[in-house]
């Protein structure tokens, strides 16, 4: 059970650690604030409560930068 994570230059295959693992959980782990990032699942915008499924491509776009 894995998904492809795309974030800035990063493109990495990640394991899904548990059932009902959401994008919000992923953001927490990466220490990213849901306030500064928007998320796409397989190319479509989704909310953070979306559960990541096996084979998903999850792209995170940082939209707010400090300063």
């Amino acid at each position: 059970m894995s998904f492809l994570l795309k974030y800035k230059q990063l493109e990495e295959k990640c394991e899904i650690p548990n059932e009902n693992y959401t994008i919000r959980d992923l953001l927490d782990e990466m220490e990213l604030s849901p306030q500064t990032v928007v998320s796409k699942q397989n190319g479509e915008l989704v909310i953070e409560d979306t559960v990541i499924e096996d084979g998903d491509e999850i792209q995170l776009v940082q939209i707010i930068y400090g300063g």
Binding site: Q35, T36, V38, K40, E44, L45, V46, I47, V61, Q62, I63, I64, Y65, G66, G67
Partner: protein
């Protein structure tokens, strides 16, 4: 889960302040409607205006251009744009290129003005000098001067900037916390100066949270420059912004209530606190100035230029 407006199950956004759920199309429509409402309620546009958009290529200015362009398509206004190139290596060029592509795509008059051309020095070079001030202080002053000049040269009747809800609330709180009542009188959706040389400035995105603008450009697939300036660092504005965002987590309407509260006291503030406009001219460049030199020339002389 489904869109509160049309029932589409593909929800892309939850508005914390209202609990509203929105699909992509309804989200885009809600942003555009809200901006148009601000424009109408605050009377930001008059028929026949030529609006100069201060276009950095970032999300806020690109969204401003995109939505104002709907008024241009209806032939209510004309639009032109200016991009200021401060001369920040590895940062500004991409924004400039993106700005150019948007101007070309829409077929609008566009001009790129660099600090180097206008003042003979880049921001990077200023920051290498001894005893320099904070980078954002120079940026703010030079950018404002360049945009005001461009507005006159291009015959613009209004200048539109991309200030969003977060920017405006930060400015209200910062000026309040610093006791800067003079600057507090200058905020608002439309800032007018009594001096003819200053074009009226409008902020169409003033009621849109920053995050929603970020989501809007991604949802509409608009090309923008997402990056942070190498000089951006811990500033008072950053600290204030952090506190406000922290408060907003538990109190999701706080940014709107701060804005509404300010708008209620604004006229009184202006009447009581607004400083007399200085009618002087800068003896070095001829721009309007309250002292012998305008701010830009004052900084130049301070840098020995």
């Amino acid at each position: 889960m489904q869109c509160s407006k049309c029932g589409n199950p593909k929800v892309i956004y939850k508005r914390e302040q209202s609990g509203q759920l929105l699909c992509q199309d309804c989200f885009i429509e809600s942003i555009e409607k809200k901006v148009i409402k601000t424009i109408k309620n605050e009377k930001l546009l008059d028929k026949g205006d030529k609006v100069l958009v201060a276009l950095s290529g970032g999300k806020d200015s690109v969204t401003t251009l995109e939505i104002l362009n709907s008024f241009r398509k209806m032939q209510v206004i004309d639009i032109c744009a200016v991009t200021v190139d401060e001369g920040i290596a590895n940062y500004r060029q991409e924004g400039v290129d993106i700005a150019k592509r948007h101007a070309e795509r829409l077929g609008i008059e566009h001009k790129v003005v660099s600090l180097k051309e206008d003042y003979g020095i880049t921001l990077d070079e200023i920051m290498e000098k001894e005893n320099h001030r904070g980078s954002c202080t120079y940026c703010g002053v030079f950018r404002r001067t360049i945009i005001n000049k461009a507005a006159r040269e291009m015959g613009a009747t209004k200048i539109a900037t991309g200030h969003n809800l977060d920017d405006e609330v930060q400015a209200i709180m910062m000026n309040y916390l610093e006791g800067n009542t003079g600057n507090l009188t200058k905020l608002g959706a439309k800032t007018e100066s009594k001096a003819e040389e200053f074009t009226v400035k409008i902020k169409p995105l003033r009621e849109i949270p920053e995050r929603e603008i970020g989501l809007y450009v991604v949802a509409k697939d608009l090309e923008v420059h997402f990056d942070s300036c190498p000089y951006a660092m811990q500033s008072f504005r950053g600290e204030v912004s952090e506190v406000i965002n922290q408060l907003a987590e538990k109190h999701p309407t706080i940014k709107y209530s701060t804005l509404r509260g300010y708008d209620k006291i604004k006229n009184t503030l202006k009447k009581e606190m607004q400083k007399e406009y200085a009618h002087g001219r800068c003896k070095r460049c001829g721009e309007p100035a309250s002292n012998e030199l305008c701010k830009a020339c004052f900084f130049l002389e301070e840098l020995g230029l």
